[in-house]
């Protein structure tokens, strides 16, 4: 690729668009956001991922101006936004509950923000038409929100927030109610919009695949804290904690004690099992607890012990999850742990090489597993 990589977070000269500086948000004595400091850069597509109630919406609401941080400051474009009311911020938000105006038609809902800007009538008309086309709502322009389906309502909310082409767009689960096809189209549409308008997006989603597809960086949240904010590839390949490894994708976690060896550590995880080796740059004292995170697709499964891999364990197939192109084998070790291994279904189902109760060998390379502090 001739394009320069878009990685402003690695560029010390880049000026962030949004800066959270020690932001804490409490509701009564409940801490929803816990002392967070991070930056979001212009033209980013920043995805917030995390379990329900971890504070994603709260983060958005602070950016939009509906909640004030209890402690700390938020900066937008080099300006502390605390004194700026929501209607003066160059930020638009798509609400998780859509918040469509029930007394206005779809057309008027989308035009609402444009009218407040005092745009000329035909400019508003053109822009609304453009938004309707984008979200494929042309046929429903005259309907009221209660006369359209849930997915259509979601698209109206999306169109309404996009219409003003703000500097920063906050999307709280924008695509949750759409069918797979429309969702994918809209994802690409969003990425397109982002590329053409240069808008910065912060998007909340419960769909990991979606976050991986659209985001420049993914922030995995837990309990009011961002555990890791990094590119989708890094989040997946180099999680910084057991929580992140476990939250993103499918993974097997084996816990044990670590001993320095070569370029990494040997992990003893169970009585009577060979120790496992993983190359790693983290610093652990000998004998400390550590966790190995292994992605199922990096684990091979075979009938005989493979000669070329140092990490090999024998076990019995407990369960097979058929995923169409792939199958995930749940292999139980004699010590009780279950390791997941994934293999492509290159043959017909009936001619599959392994089946339930088969004794098999699972193996992976020295660099396949990620070593984490337990």
């Amino acid at each position: 690729m001739s394009q320069t990589v878009f990685e402003p977070w690695n560029d010390p000269d880049a000026k962030p668009l949004i800066q959270f500086k020690g932001v804490t948000k409490r509701f009564g004595d409940f801490t929803a956001i816990d002392d967070q400091t991070f930056d979001i850069y212009e033209r980013e597509f920043f995805a917030l991922l995390g379990p329900s109630g971890c504070g994603k919406t709260t983060m958005m609401r602070m950016l939009a101006g509906f909640e004030a941080p209890t402690e700390g400051t938020i900066w937008l474009d080099g300006q502390d936004i605390a004194p700026i009311p929501p209607n003066k911020r160059a930020v638009n938000m798509m609400f998780q509950s859509y918040a469509l105006f029930p007394h206005l038609s779809v057309w008027d809902n989308i035009a609402f923000g444009l009218k407040r800007d005092g745009l000329p009538r035909d400019a508003i008309g053109d822009r609304v038409a453009e938004m309707l086309k984008l979200t494929r709502l042309e046929k429903f322009a005259k309907r009221k929100p209660h006369q359209i389906s849930g997915g259509q309502r979601q698209r109206v909310a999306l169109a309404r927030s996009l219409a003003k082409a703000p500097k920063l767009l906050l999307l709280d689960e924008p695509l949750g109610a759409l069918d797979a096809k429309l969702r994918q189209d809209t994802q690409f549409e969003l990425m397109d919009i982002q590329e053409t308008t240069g808008t910065t997006f912060v998007i909340v989603t419960h769909d990991q695949e979606e976050a991986m597809t659209v985001a420049s960086r993914v922030a995995v949240m837990d309990d009011g804290r961002i555990m890791q904010a990094d590119t989708p590839a890094n989040i997946y390949e180099m999680p910084n904690s057991v929580y992140v490894a476990d939250f993103i994708g499918d993974v097997t976690i084996l816990e044990g004690t670590a001993t320095r060896s070569g370029n990494g550590y040997d992990i003893t995880f169970a009585e009577g099992q060979p120790s496992l080796h993983a190359e790693s740059e983290i610093a652990l004292t000998d004998g400390s607890r550590a966790a190995l995170a292994i992605r199922p697709e990096k684990v091979s499964i075979s009938a005989e012990r493979p000669e070329d891999k140092r990490n090999a364990l024998q076990g019995k197939i407990l369960d097979i999850a058929y995923l169409g192109n792939l199958s995930t084998y749940h292999v139980e070790l004699p010590s009780g742990q279950i390791v997941k291994a994934q293999a492509a279904n290159t043959r017909r189902l009936s001619r599959r090489s392994f089946t339930w109760e088969d004794e098999v060998w699972i193996s992976w390379t020295d660099t396949a597993a990620v070593l984490l502090e337990a």
Binding site: A64, P86, N87, M93, F101, K164
Partner: protein
């Protein structure tokens, strides 16, 4: 069958409490004044059979309604009642809306108390409450005493026995009927709609006029009808607080019935009043139905 029974209940109710009395009043309005008990003729005498029924219907006529058009007192009274009711309804709205708005935006734990305070006046007799306004508004009343005491005025204000006193009485009496439906719509409103409006560039004030106000429309309409309809026929308030120039149809009706004992003319007045009221009642029903459809 069960459905039929369910539908029958409200209709029977309507029949017993509205239609039957109405037919009786209608019948009296078509009769003639007579010095007898009851003070009108004819009365239906079924003992003479078919002949009796025939002569009974033969004696009914629209004389009383024609009479109403000959004396301009009546149409002036109707017109003045409508005017007073319209003005009073608007005043009630102006007073009631901010109260309802304040209640809907009060902290959750305050709302039941505020609601209670709005309903509290109903616990004492309506008559007593209107009487007490006489004590407040009269020339030697509390209001004048207070204002003179504070040195704001030197001569007492003449409020009692004027239309102003009638408006005050109506606003005071019917205020809860305005507040409650408006409060109900405001309280149900999704707060995120206002946030969305602000997010899209509205000031607080604009958000109120563009979102809150239109969304409380149904409450406003319901409240206005609930005040307007009983106000048109109001008798007690103009009788106690109004002056000799306060012309309301309720008062005319009372005088026809009890001073002139002319039941047929009084009934005709009542029938016309009902016909006038049917228009807003139908509009009100329409509004309610449209609202239900929009929500359903």
């Amino acid at each position: 069958m069960r459905r039929l029974a369910l539908i029958a209940v409200p209709y029977l109710w309507l029949l017993a409490l509205f239609l039957v009395p109405f037919i009786i009043v209608l019948k009296i309005s078509l009769s003639d004044y007579a010095l007898s008990i009851p003070p009108y003729s004819p009365t239906l005498d079924l003992s003479t059979g078919w002949q009796g029924i025939k002569s009974f219907f033969g004696a009914l006529d629209f004389e009383n309604f024609t009479f109403l058009t000959t004396d301009d007192l009546y149409w002036k009274a109707y017109l003045s009642s409508v005017k007073i009711a319209v003005v009073a309804t608007l005043c009630t709205l102006l007073v009631g809306y901010p109260i309802a708005y304040g209640m809907a935006n009060a902290p959750d734990h305050w709302r039941p108390t505020l609601m209670m305070l709005v309903i509290l006046p109903f616990w004492t007799s309506f008559l007593i409450r209107v009487y007490s306004w006489m004590g407040i508004l009269s020339t030697e009343g509390y209001l004048n005493q207070l204002l003179i005491g504070m040195g704001l005025i030197s001569e007492p204000l003449m409020i009692l026995n004027t239309n102003t006193a009638v408006y005050i009485g109506i606003v005071y009496t019917y205020l809860p009927f305005m507040i409650l439906p408006i409060y109900a719509t405001l309280e149900r409103m999704d707060a995120s709609l206002l946030e969305a409006a602000e997010d899209l560039g509205c000031s607080r004030m604009q958000a109120f006029w563009l979102v809150t106000f239109p969304l409380s429309r149904n409450g406003i309409i319901a409240g206005c009808f609930l005040v307007f309809i009983p106000t048109i026929g109001e008798f007690v308030i103009p009788a106690l607080l109004g002056g000799s120039d306060t012309l309301m149809i309720g008062k005319v009706l009372w005088e026809e019935f009890f001073n002139n004992r002319d039941w047929p003319v009084a009934s005709a007045v009542a029938v016309i009043l009902l016909l006038i009221l049917i228009i807003p009642i139908i509009l009100f029903q329409r509004n309610e139905q449209k609202q239900r459809e929009a929500e359903g």
